[in-house]
Each structure stands twice: as C-alpha cells, then as structure tokens.
Amino acid sequence: MNWAVVLPLLIFLVVIFFVGLWANRKMAEADGFLSDYFLGSREFGGLVLAMTMVATYGSASSFLGGPGAAYTIGFGWVLLAMTQVATGYFVLLILGKKFAIVARRYNAVTLVDFLKERYKSKAVVLISAFSILVFLFSAMAAQWVGGAYLIQSLTGLSYIGALFIFTLSVLVYVTAGGFRAVVITDTLQGVIMFFGTLILLIAVIMAGGGITNIMSELVAINPNLITPFGQDGQLNAAYVSSFWILVGVGVIGLPQIAVRAMSYKDSQAMHRAIIIGTIVVGFIMLGMHLIGVFARPVMPGIEVADQVIPSVALEVLPPWLAGIILAAPLAAIMSTVDSLLILVSSTVVKDVYMNYIKPNASNDTVKKVSFGVTGIIGIIAFVLSISPPELLIFLNLFAFGGLESAFIWPLVLGLYWKFANKHGAIASMITGIGSYIAIHLYNEAYGNLFGVHTVTVPVFLSLAVFVLFSLLFKQEPYEFPANNINK
C-alpha cells in the first residue's frame, strides 16, 4: 500500500465523517425534523447551493469515465462534455424563484410532494415515487460499485474491503446528518474537485512540454484527435448536439437536482449560485476532459478508460499530491451517492410511508423511521454491490435519461402552464420512461435512431403526449394557492 497516496484520502474521509456528526448536532436545534433531515431547513447560501448542484451532478463519469473517453476519442469528446456548462445556470433560472416560492407554499420537501400537490393525483405520486426508487436506487448502487473500485485501485485492498470502507464512510454521515451533511460535504467535495482539476491540468501540461507541443504530438498520433469528430470520425454533429438534452438542459428533470432548487435561503443565494455554479461546472468539465486528451501523449497505451486519471496523476505528481488529487474523483462519487441516498430515503419516508402507510405518525416515529430507512437502503446497496445483479446494471442505464424524460414536463409545465393537469402528467411520465426503454433497446440492436442519443425522442414524445392529454381532458386553468396551504 502506498501510504503517501492513501494518507490524504484517509484524512479526507475522516473530515467528511465529522461533518456528518456536526450536521447531526445542528439538526437537534432545528424546529422541523422532516424538512431539516431531507431539505436542510431551506437555509443554504449561494456557494453551498452551487457546489451541491455541481457535486451531485458531477459523478464518476466526469472524473474517470469522461476523461478516459477523451483520452481515446480526442477533442470531440471535450466538445461533447462542454454541453454541460448549461447545467450551471439553466436549472436555477428555469425552476428559479417560482419553484422555490411554490414549494414553500406547498410545504414540499421532495419533488414528489410538489407533484402531489400540483396534480392532486395518487397515480402521479405512485408512478413518480416508483420510478425514483427503481432508477435512482440502481444509479446509486452503480456509483457505489464505482466508489469501491476506486478505493480498491488506490489502496490495493480487496474489493469487499474497499466496498466496506466506502459504505461505512458514506452511510455514517448521511444517516446521521441528513441533507445538511450531504450538502456541506458536497461543498467540501466540490472545492476538492475544482482545485484537483486545476492542479492536475497544470501538471499534465508541464509534463507534456506545453500545449503546442502536446498538440503536435496528438497530430502525430492521429490528426483526427484534434477534430470535433473523434478518432475514427465516429462523432457526428447531430449525436454530439443531442447531449445538450441529456446532460445540458434536460438535467432539470433529475429529481436529485430539482430538489436542490427548493433548498436555498433567498433569491440572493440563487443569484450567487448561478454565477458560481456556471464557473465551477464549466471549469471542471473543460479541465478534466482536457486532462484526458493531454494524457494521451504524456502516457500512451492506457487500456482501461477509468485508469487514465489515476495513472496520469500518479505519473505527473508527487505521491502525496496525487493522493489529494485522487480524493477528487472519490469526492465526486461520494457526493453523488450521498445525494441519491438521501433522495431515495426521502421518497420512501415522505412520499410512501407518510402519504399512504402512516399519515399521522408522530415526530418521534418519523425520526426513527428516517434514520432507519436511510441506513437500511445503504445496507441493501452494500449487499447488492458485492456482486451486482444484471437487473441492476440494466436499470442503471435508464436512470439518467429515463428520469429526465419522465419528470421534465410534469415539473416544468406544472410550474408554467396553467392547463397542465394530471392526465397529461401521467401520460407523459409513462410515455417518457416507456419510450426511453424501447428506444434504448432499438438503438442497441440497430444503431442510433436518427443518429441522436436515446434521450432525444422520448423528451419530445413526452412533451407532445403531455400537451395532448392535458387538452383532451381539459380542466379549469390551475391557480397556485395564494398562501401557504396549511394556513
């Protein structure tokens, strides 16, 4: 075991652990347990809001898989990755103040709470809770496996040992500290991701003898690496552009992102978060993917995509610094897993248990159930990660695009279109998920339909169906309540 590398990682894990304990203390002071555990009492400022959005969104793929692809494919993949700059400003501007105001009036703590109150339909609640549970749980388990692999490759521990360490560190702070622990650690993790990117980028450019030098070596390897079309010319403009939907504007429909748009303190926090978020997400995406491309001449011949960043960090940096930098992908994975864990838990507790199983549970019961459910979900994820079942891997493929196609219109049109109603929402969610799975299977078998990413068609289909069904079963135009619904 390389202690110079492992020590910074250990320190990182210990700090995270204490943040969880601190958040747990803080929770004792808050007046409402539920909105504190699952939403941090809506008190976050600009920096924290921006960082938690970036960190939740930036996952293993931004730090390992994405740069690994850029290593093989070249600048075309960096171009594709830059579609993600939009996430920095788009989600907060579109959901913006209206979502925050309405969520407060509804006393909504989860995205499902919002949908429940807006559409007043049991079917909407059940479909959305069910899809969150199935898809986000699979996504979480997949990241869980990724986190364990990363720890394994850095420390040389066995997979089970690494999995155990990962589970223990995530589970303790999320279970004990709730949403506040999640966002505070996200902030810390976001800062590590930002500076990790900066340092590694500079080190790689220096190791490669400057950008001009790296560029001519890339051309010598394969001139296609510096075109927008990929090393074999496999990336066409339509395909790359369709990522604007998948990882750019469509991100608005991801429950783990949307819920953050109702967690902030005031409009000033949102304004600052838009600026910080755009800068941080843009810099991380640009920097990490450039590192992937620049690593090609610096360290040719890496076979496994996920190994590119760890290998190049160990190559160009002194071990202790590499340890700090490699905390960044671990931070990225943890910050995604923790957000998904708390979201899945809130869905079970708030949307299922409190809605349909025990609506008048006492505060004390809710507290116990919340801690218990969060812990149990984590343990299930641990057990499943020991040898991930096929079904889990299969479901994870739909987690991102499938949820976007399901939630984007019920959320956006529910906010901005007064004729949006439950018929439209139900039809749209079913169409979104159903067509996503169908087109995914079609694309696997026959190549991409219309040459674009799977998500494209379902997003437009679910929009059309939403509008059609809302107008077909037309209801009175919806007015948001003028005051808090409990008063």
């Binding site: 171009l79 920095g88 105001i101 560029m215 927008p228 600026i275």
Partner: protein, 96 residues
C-alpha cells in the same frame, strides 16, 4: 375555480421573465458552441489554425464559449435578475 379575479403574484411575473432569460442564454450558448465547432472544425486538420496552442475551433467554441457564458451569466445576474422574498410572510415588495 377560485381566485379567478385575483391578480397573479407579481413575483411570478418576475420568475417567468427570468425563466425566459434562462432559455435565451441556453440558445446563445448552443449556437455559439455549434457554430464555431462545426464552422471552423469541419475542414481537414492540416488546414487548422491555432490559438494559444489549441485548434481555433476548439478555442472559440469551448474555451471562448465558456468565458462568454460566464460573462453573460454575470451580466444577467447583476443587471436583469430581481431580488424577491421567497416566503409569503414577509411580503413587502421592491427590496433594494
């Protein structure tokens, strides 16, 4: 249903305007990104020009596009977004 004669919350009008601004930003972002990437990048790599070591298409589309969006976002936040209270209790309008 109810409140039909009631005026829409003025904060909602602000929110609607800001949502449209968000769409506008995304459109600018996409056009800039696409235009430079495929406008300058579609010729064979031997004919590429370079800026600060990067191929010109990449420099303008990705690096320039990122800087442009940061500038636009800062401009929008400073001059176009409005501060509004999010809770209903403190309903005094026109802070600042």
């Amino acid at each position: 249903m109810r409140n039909n004669n009631k005026q829409t919350d003025p904060r909602f009008r602000i929110a609607h305007r800001e949502a449209l601004i968000g769409c506008g930003l995304a459109v600018i972002n996409i056009l800039w990104w696409y235009g430079f990437a495929y406008g300058l990048g579609s010729k064979p790599p031997e004919q590429y020009t370079y800026i600060l070591g990067f191929p010109a298409w990449f420099f303008y589309s990705c690096i320039g596009g990122f800087v442009l969006m940061v500038v636009l976002v800062v401009f929008v936040v400073k001059f176009m977004l409005k501060e509004v209270p999010l809770d209903d209790e403190e309903k005094e309008e026109g802070s600042q």
